[in-house]
């Protein structure tokens, strides 16, 4: 399984969404009736969502609406208490092996990069392929260099994260996640800790990645990105999915009052 996936992701590095619709897997992420509480606080309420392979989802919503919590449930950084989350046919339960299986297939990019500061950029990228995928070091390094080239920073490979700018660090974080050759990429506000002039360089990388057919779920306030890249925009508020629609529809003709209010607020800026 690992190998066929490897080949597929490697060869699909070229631009434009993949043409071959037949091996697209419907419902690679399935969330069914999912609830989550923090103590007594009901954060996520009855979420239902199906994401097909190759789909690009953008999640938006006001602060505190549970976007981060939701996306972090998908690789079990947070535990849900009710309902089902099934990722690539593996259900997330308390079983540690199942969790590890899912995490190998799901890459994640954080708001604050979370690179490992004691390792060089290259070592950051190779760590998991070597220790989890058991890729030989040479091979892992070669593949890491390819990804670093793809995010346009091969020349920084031997620096430490602390020596890079925020935008560069976030691109390294994306490369690090890609090095595991994941089937799904999760992004939690990848650009909101960055200065404006660095946002574009990270978004460019994400747009390129979207073009390669990667399944993506992205929490972001970058509405431009949502418009150009997303297949579906999901609006969350108060722990619920309030509305979901293709971007054109979502932005021009929102159905729910809460969505309209939210859009007015962010477009006013």
């Amino acid at each position: 399984m690992g190998n066929s996936m490897t080949d597929q992701t490697l060869t699909s590095e070229t631009q434009t969404p993949p043409k071959d619709q037949s091996d697209k897997k419907p419902g690679i992420i399935r969330v069914e009736g999912m609830h989550k509480w923090y103590g007594d606080f009901h954060v996520l309420k009855d979420l239902n969502l199906t994401v097909d392979q190759g789909e690009r989802i953008v999640i938006c919503g006001p602060s505190g609406s549970g976007k981060s919590t939701f996306i972090r449930c998908i690789n079990r950084l947070e535990e849900h208490q009710q309902g089902k989350i099934i990722v690539d046919d593996v259900e997330l339960t308390d079983d540690v092996r199942q969790i590890d299986t899912v995490r190998r297939e799901v890459g994640m990019v954080f708001q604050h990069f979370n690179l490992f500061p004691h390792l060089t950029v290259l070592e950051n990228c190779c760590l998991s392929p070597i220790w989890v995928r058991k890729t030989p070091r040479k091979e892992a390094e070669a593949s890491a260099m390819e990804y670093l080239e793809r995010v346009k920073i091969p020349d920084q490979a031997n620096k430490f994260p602390g020596q890079l700018s925020g935008g560069q660090q976030q691109r390294v974080a994306i490369a690090r996640a890609l090095c595991m050759k994941p089937k799904i990429m999760l992004f939690d506000e990848p650009t909101s800790a960055l200065d404006p002039e660095m946002i574009k360089e990270v978004l460019d990388v994400m747009i390129e990645l979207a073009g390669s057919g990667m399944t993506m779920m992205c929490v972001t306030h970058e509405m431009g990105f949502a418009k150009t890249v997303a297949d579906r925009v999901i609006f969350m508020d108060g722990g619920e999915i309030v509305e979901q629609a293709p971007p054109h529809e979502f932005f021009t003709n929102p159905q729910e009052a809460r969505t309209q209010k939210f859009l007015q607020q962010i477009l006013a800026h």
């Binding site: 690789n75 950084l77 540690v96 590890d100 995490r103 190998r104 799901v106 890459g107 994640m108 954080f110 604050h112 979370n114 690179l115 490992f116 500061p117 004691h118 760590l127 998991s128 220790w131 989890v132 430490f160 994260p161 602390g162 020596q163 690090r176 996640a177 595991m180």
Partner: protein
């Protein structure tokens, strides 16, 4: 920060200017400087005289100490006892071999580009105790047996400190991880262990190990006593180490744990590859502090009748054959401890500098 293409200005190091700015800037500083200078001049002279100029270096027994200064003869005459205790003369090559191996393993650690430095260090940590385990007590491989009651002096101090240090680090790491574990039973055991051992003075631990335990166990040979002291010291030290390391673990931002989880590393690889390297690096000063204080605390084994370097010196200065040599003896002990502790401290500073990857999160 302002942008500038100029070089950072160099600090002027001209002595006259420096003195005027630092020593004679105002009447109060000038008075202080003069007072300190006076004290130095009046005390350095006599100290020099006592230590070197009037000191006695040659001769064979106490009657040769005729000068007014220190009687270093005492040290050189009894050096063998201070280093080996009662270890038989003809077998001391075994101890010398260990000293040599110790030096070979650790002195290169101070030389930045010494070839194979890492391997020597690893040998020092893992190989040396094994070699010592067979070489020092003997009894195997045709080596004559030397009971541990005959061990003493610097050699015993080093054995106690060395084993205490290298065994307490891994145990301390496991305890610290256990204390932060999600599993209530493991966490409970670690908390109880740490809190019990840490709350007891080392001297009590040693007493318990040597006096109380035999009441419950059938008394074996004397080797048991040293082994028991070692176990006591190690467990006691581990509890301290665990708390130092826990401090480091807590200082690692949650994002590091999450990033490691998200990469599917699993618990042990997450800890071993991501969290511990950063946490340990962060608490190097604390770890070294504990090492150094353990090194000095080993002198407490005197209380259970083991003769470490302090014990051998102390028993000799009360020897009627030597009179008034207590100061020389204790200066010697202090010097030995200082050499080793300073070495540990310097090495840790090297290490910190080398591991600094220029990030401050």
């Amino acid at each position: 920060m302002t942008e500038s293409t100029m070089k950072a200005p160099k600090k002027a190091l001209r002595p006259v200017k420096w003195m005027r700015e630092n020593l004679f800037s105002g009447w109060f500083n000038t008075a202080l400087t003069l007072a300190v200078a006076y004290l130095l001049v009046t005390s350095v002279g006599p100290l020099l005289n006592w230590f070197f100029l009037d000191a006695n270096f040659v001769g064979s027994d106490a009657s040769d100490c005729t000068g007014a200064g220190a009687c270093w003869l005492f040290i050189s005459q009894r050096l063998n006892f201070f280093i080996y205790g009662f270890y038989p003369d003809e077998l001391q090559w075994r101890v010398d071999t260990m000293f040599l191996l110790l030096a070979v393993a650790f002195v290169p650690q101070f030389v930045e580009r010494f070839p194979g430095r890492k391997w020597l260090g690893l040998f020092g940590i893992f190989g040396l105790p094994v070699v010592g385990y067979f070489l020092i007590p003997g009894g195997t491989f045709g080596l004559e047996e030397v009971q541990s009651s005959k061990w003493g002096g610097l050699m015993l101090t080093l054995i106690l400190a060395y084993i205490g240090i290298i065994a307490s680090l891994p145990i301390g790491i496991l305890l610290a991880l256990g204390r932060r574990s999600d599993m209530p039973i493991i966490r409970g055991i670690c908390v109880v262990f740490i809190e019990v051992w840490r709350a007891v003075p080392l001297i009590t631990v040693l007493f318990m190990a040597s006096v109380m335990l035999p009441l419950f166990l059938p008394e074996g040979v004397n080797f048991e006593k040293l082994a028991r002291a070692l176990i006591g010291i190690t467990l006691w030290q581990s509890a301290y180490m665990a708390e130092v390391i826990r401090g480091g673990l807590q200082a690692i931002p949650r994002g590091q744990y999450e990033a490691a989880d998200a990469l599917g590393l699993g618990y042990w690889r997450k800890m071993g590859l991501v969290i511990l390297p950063q946490a340990l690096k962060m608490v190097i000063p604390g770890i070294v502090n504990t090492f150094i204080s353990l090194f000095k605390d080993t002198t407490l084994v005197l209380i259970i009748g083991l003769f470490d370097i302090l014990g051998t010196v102390q028993s000799t200065v009360t020897d009627p054959a030597w009179q008034n040599v207590a100061i020389e003896g204790y200066v010697f002990v202090a010097f030995c401890f200082w050499v080793f502790c300073f070495g540990i401290s310097r090495y840790s500073q090297n290490l910190e500098r080398k591991l600094d990857t220029g990030h401050k999160t």
